[in-house]
Structure formats: C-alpha cells, structure tokens
C-alpha cells in the first residue's frame, strides 16, 4: 500500500506524464510471455488477478477472434514505449489507466455481462484468462 495524498491520487489516475525514459523492449518486439508477465504486474493480488481472468474469459467468449495471445498483445499498444523487463510497475499502471481513460473518452468500450468496460481493460483481462488456461 502506497501512501498518497488525494491530489497525488488524482494525478496517479490522471496519467500525468512521468519523467521520460528509454524503452529497452517494445511490446511488439517482446516475446509473448514477457508481455503477459508485465500485464500480470498490474494485478498484484492473486484474487484480483483471478477475477480479472474470469471477466477475460467472458470477453473472449464473445470476441472469439481475439482469443489468442498474439492478437491481444498486438491490440494492447498502451505498453508501447514501456520497458517490459526493467520498467517500474507504477509507470505501467499509469499507462494502463491513461489508455482506459482514452477508451472511455472515445467510447471504445465493450459490454461484458452487462459491465461497460474499456476495450483495453477487457483485453488485459483476456490476456490473463489465456494465461490461466495455458
């Protein structure tokens, strides 16, 4: 648990650009498992990871054309520019939050069992679902 002021918390979710960094490996070039491992960092607690995977299964059932790791990774371009191996998880979380906001802003959303989710978060959940079934 990281202690943040309310203002810091808003900044955290707001995706204010952090200090620049040089990516060592891009999502497109990285091995699949590296991307999946990075995505799993977004879900530190096992129960949240399991929940996310459950949603992911539902998403993949209704989007069978995305039911493979490669397709999902290609679609998850919010990780582009992030150092998949050395990067700070907080930076990844910020990029994730930022992209989710963009999705909602542009109404790039998906209905999963009635829940209106960002396409990006649904795909990340899908990636975790595929990981669980491997």
């Amino acid at each position: 648990m990281k202690h943040l002021t309310r203002r810091q918390a808003l900044v955290y979710l707001g995706g204010i650009a952090a200090a620049g960094f040089t990516p060592a490996a891009t999502v497109q070039a990285a091995p699949s498992q590296t991307v999946v491992t990075a995505a799993m960092k977004l879900f530190a607690r096992p129960e949240t990871r399991a929940s996310a995977a459950l949603i992911g299964q539902t998403y993949l059932r209704s989007h069978p054309c995305e039911n493979n790791t490669e397709t999902l990774i290609r679609a998850l371009d919010f990780m582009a520019g992030y150092d998949l191996e050395q990067g700070d998880t907080a930076v990844l979380a910020r990029l994730y939050a930022q992209r989710i906001s963009q999705d909602f802003e542009s109404a790039d959303v998906v209905n999963v069992d009635g829940w209106i989710l960002s396409k990006t978060e649904a795909r990340v959940f899908g990636l975790l679902a595929l990981q669980q079934t491997v």
Partner: protein
C-alpha cells in the same frame, strides 16, 4: 366571455366555505362565475389565484377530505396496453387529488422541452418557455409550501455542496438539481392541507365536496358549456351553471369527462378530430443498472438528498445535453443514482479495500485491478444482501433513469361499456410507447456507463432487462399526461395556447393533460405554472 348567453343569478349559498353534498337540496342549481371541476394541484392553484377577488368561484370535488374507497371506485378502469398500475391506484380522488401521493419533486421544463424537434414525432408546444416562465416561481412557492430557493443554476447548488471537481463532460451530460418537500421532513404537509385554511376563509370561493360530475351540458350548438350535471354519493341530483368552466380532474379523468359529455356533441366535447384521450403518456422510469464506485465523495454529495435551512430538500440528476440528444436523435431523459448498500462478499471486500484506502488518504495498489474482483462477485450477492444490510453505509448505487415518452397517437384513454355506480362509462387505457422511448433509455444507460468510466469514478453494469425485457422492466411515474394536448389548431390537439378547448367558448382545461409533450422532469411544477397562467387569462375575462 362573449356569447355564452348566461344571466347572473345570485348564488343559493353564501360563497366562501366548504360545502358537503349532504347540505345541498335535491334538484338545486348553483350559480357562479367560474366552475372548477377537480380539486387537485391545478384546480387549487387556479382557485387560489382568485382569493380576495370579486369573482365567484365554485370548485367541485368528487371526494371528501379523506380517502374513501367508494369514491375511489369511480376511478377503476381497464388497461389493454403496457403494464400499468390499476387506474384506481395510480391517482387519488379526494381533496388535493393525486398530490396526496405526490413525492413533491419539482424542476421547471427546459426551453428545449417546448420546441419542435424533427427527430421527435409530434413534438413542440404552441407556447414557449418565456410564456410560462413568469409563473414558475409562484408555482414553486405553492408546490414547496413557501420553502426552498427558486434557483436552478448548477453552480449555485455545487457551491452549496462544496463540490468542485465532479463535473461531467458538458458536451454529453448536464448536471442538474431539483428540489422537493420530502414527506420525511417535519415541515411537510399535503397540498390540500396547505391551501385548506385559505379556501375556508375565502369570501368568494366555495368548495363543494362529494359531488360527482355526470356530464358537461352544452348549448344547442354545442359551442359552450351551459351547466354541469352533478350527483351526490347518496344519489342527490344537482346542477351548476357558470360563465366559465375549467376541467381539472387529471390526465385520465379530463379525457373521460369530455368523452362522456356526448348528449349534444355525439363524439364528445372537443373531440371533433378524435383526439381527446389520444397521446396518453407517462414517464417510463426504471433501474438501468448499478454503479460500483472507486471515487465516492462527490457522488455521495451530489446524488444524496440534502436539506436546506428552510426544510426543503435538493439533489442532483444528470441529463444528456441538448446537443447530444440532437446528434443521437434521442428524447429527453435523466439519470439519478440511488444509494445501495454494500453486500458482504469477496467482491465487497475488494470494494471496501478501495474505499477505505481512499478514506485513509491512501491509494490501493493497482486500483483498476480491484474493479475486476468487485465486478465478478457482484451479481449474485447484491440483491440478496440489499435489504438485510440496508442500514449500512451505501457502497453501490442503483442507476435510475426516467425518459420522456415520445408522443404516440395510438396510446390512448377511451371509454368502455362497463359503467360506474353513477352510470358513467369507465375508462379503457391502452398505453403504448414508441421504439424511440426504449432506444433513449438504452442509450442513456450506456452513455452514462461510459461517462462514469471516463470520469474514473467506477464501472456500471447495465441491467439485462433493458435489452431483453424492456416492457416489463420499467415502471411509471404515475404522471398522466397529454390526453387533451395543447396545439396550434384542432387538427393536432384539444386545447389552444390559452388552454381553451377548441370550438368551445367557455371551457378550459388545466393539468398535465394539456401538455403537448412530457419532458423528462416531473410534471407538477409545470402544470401548476400553466394553471396560474390560465388563472391570469380568466381574470382578464372576469373583470
């Protein structure tokens, strides 16, 4: 008022009192200047406007001061349309009318509510907001029993709440506030109680209780009402003559009384074009889904009820902006959030984890991932635990919506062959809504869900019933509207811009039956404002 052919006769009773039917003689004829039929919000507002004037006003009320099952039975009817509450339940037949079960919420219509929109069939009023605006504040004071602040600016109410940052995208949603006198407030009183003393002390207004209108009698030409035939509960027959008649018995009964008044005008008064009873509508309301929040404070504040120093209450709603509705060709609509308690479950633990961390000024790791646990666990537990835990601090919100019913010619109030105890045909309702109404509610729910995500305040689950079982999914506001619509001409409506029935010299209609369209707000404030406007018009005729 020219051409009615009445000569004035002295009233047989001294005006200025409540008169029960038992105190009236059989076959008596009452004479007055203005006869108001119906003692609900509209009728009372008009009568109140004549307090202290020289105009004699008689109000006819079918019931007494209290609910009476025998009187209420007159309101029974059938429904062959969409699910609707029984017609003797959705309205009340005693002094104060349906305000006796009114929740008291008020907000004026917007300018757009009066305009014609090419994507909304049968939209547009012959009057515009500036025509009614001067009456809204007075109507507000009546509806709020003198409490509250006549103020609708968003920023004013946000300042009251100390909210600075919960602002939706104004291109999509407008944050609006409405006010009410809630029944839970000690200062609450019924509408009838509020005006009863003033009417009782009046020297020019008589209120006749327990008198039932059998028919409006017209001149031979059928162009003016000459009298109304009345019967008491015990079967005593009377008549009332007046220079001007105002029908103010509610959106269903106004149509019924016009249709049953067919001795001279066979199709019913004002019904030459078959429009009386047409366009019946009510506000579809329903639970569109549920919201789980990650950022609760502004929502708690904005969507909770707040009490002012004067005892009035206010809360917020979100309405799609006019630009958004125009772009997506939607009817008017609004969404409110109703607190729902947090169930005990793994999902709730995750939600609590989020909320409690926020309260401590901490930020949970991977906040967005917690949402997953909440979502996956929510369905099975929320409803089961809701009532058990209703006294706990709410952690979820029900997404509640109300939609403007698009005017629909096929939705109507008509008469049946079945008759009430006085031999008057009962009402047959056939309520229908258009696809656009359903589409608007679905679009509203989805747009709100997306906006919630954009605002980073949580996620919304849309209720599957919205898509799969819409007709059985929504409820109604018990707002009976548009059955004697106001229009530019009688091909499109029943009353003109002054609320006068087309082709009738001296018959006016008050209440939400004259609404051309329903808007998405509650109707009472607007119907009272229209009644006050009508009262001003009548004052001009009775100088």
């Amino acid at each position: 008022m020219a051409g009615t052919g009445f000569c004035h006769q002295p009233a047989l009773e001294e005006p200025g009192m409540f008169i029960g039917a038992a105190d009236l003689q059989e076959q008596r004829t009452i004479d007055t200047d203005i006869c108001i039929i119906g003692c609900g919000a509209a009728g009372i507002a008009i009568a109140r406007s004549f307090l202290g004037t020289k105009t004699r006003v008689a109000i006819i009320e079918g019931g007494g001061f209290e609910y009476d099952a025998e009187s209420q039975d007159i309101y029974k009817g059938s429904n062959s349309g969409l699910p609707y509450p029984p017609l003797d339940v959705t309205r009340l037949r005693y002094f104060g009318g349906s305000t006796n079960h009114w929740e008291g919420q008020v907000r004026p219509f917007s300018a757009a509510d009066f305009e014609t929109h090419e994507w909304l069939p049968n939209s547009g009023w012959p009057i515009k907001l500036p025509d009614i605006e001067p009456y809204y504040e007075q109507a507000f004071n009546i509806c709020m029993f003198g409490s509250g602040t006549y103020q609708w600016e968003r920023d004013y109410w946000l300042r009251q709440l100390g909210i600075a940052h919960f602002l939706p995208d104004e291109r999509i949603f407008e944050l609006e506030f409405f006010q009410c006198m809630r029944r839970v407030q000690p200062s609450w009183q019924s509408f009838g109680t509020y005006v009863r003393d003033a009417l009782d002390k009046s020297e020019n207004i008589s209120v006749y209780l327990d008198l039932n209108v059998i028919e409006l009698n017209t001149s031979e030409q059928g162009d003016a009402v000459s009298s109304v035939s009345l019967v008491s509960k015990s079967g005593k027959h009377l008549a009332l003559r007046a220079r001007t008649f105002v029908l103010a018995t509610g959106g269903i009964e106004n149509a019924r009384l016009l249709l049953v008044s067919n001795t001279t005008v066979k199709e019913g008064i004002g019904n030459r074009n078959g429009l009386v009873g047409r366009f019946f509508c009510d506000h579809p309301v329903g639970h569109a889904g549920r919201l789980v929040t990650t950022e609760r404070t502004p929502i708690d504040k904005a969507f909770a009820w707040h009490t002012t120093a004067s005892g009035s209450c206010y809360t917020a709603q979100l309405s799609p902006s006019f630009a958004f509705r125009k772009k997506h060709r939607l009817a008017n609509c609004c969404v409110r959030l109703l607190p729902a308690p947090l169930p005990h479950s793994a999902g709730s633990a995750a939600a609590k984890h989020i909320v409690e961390a926020l309260r401590r000024g901490e930020w949970p790791d991977n906040l967005l991932s917690e949402i997953g646990t909440v979502i996956t666990d929510l369905d099975a537990l929320v409803e089961r635990q809701y009532h058990k835990l209703r006294h706990t601090r709410p952690e979820y919100f029900t997404v509640w919506t109300r939609v403007e019913p698009v005017p629909n010619y096929d939705s109507r109030v008509a008469l049946t062959d079945e008759r009430d105890r006085f031999g008057k045909p009962r009402v047959a309702l056939n309520w229908k809504v258009t696809d656009l109404t359903q589409h608007t509610m679905n679009r509203l729910a989805n747009t709100f869900a997306t906006e919630v995500g954009r605002l980073r305040i949580g996620r919304v689950q849309i209720d599957p019933g919205l898509e799969n079982d819409w007709e059985n999914h929504f409820h109604v506001g018990n707002h009976h509207m548009c059955t004697t619509r106001m229009a530019e001409d009688e091909r499109n409506g029943v009353v003109d811009a002054d609320c006068k029935v087309f082709s009738m010299d001296n018959l006016y209609i008050a209440g939400s039956s004259v609404f051309s369209t329903a808007g998405s707000g509650t109707p009472t404030l607007t119907l009272v404002a229209l009644a006050l406007r009508l009262a001003d018009h009548l004052k001009g005729l009775h100088v």
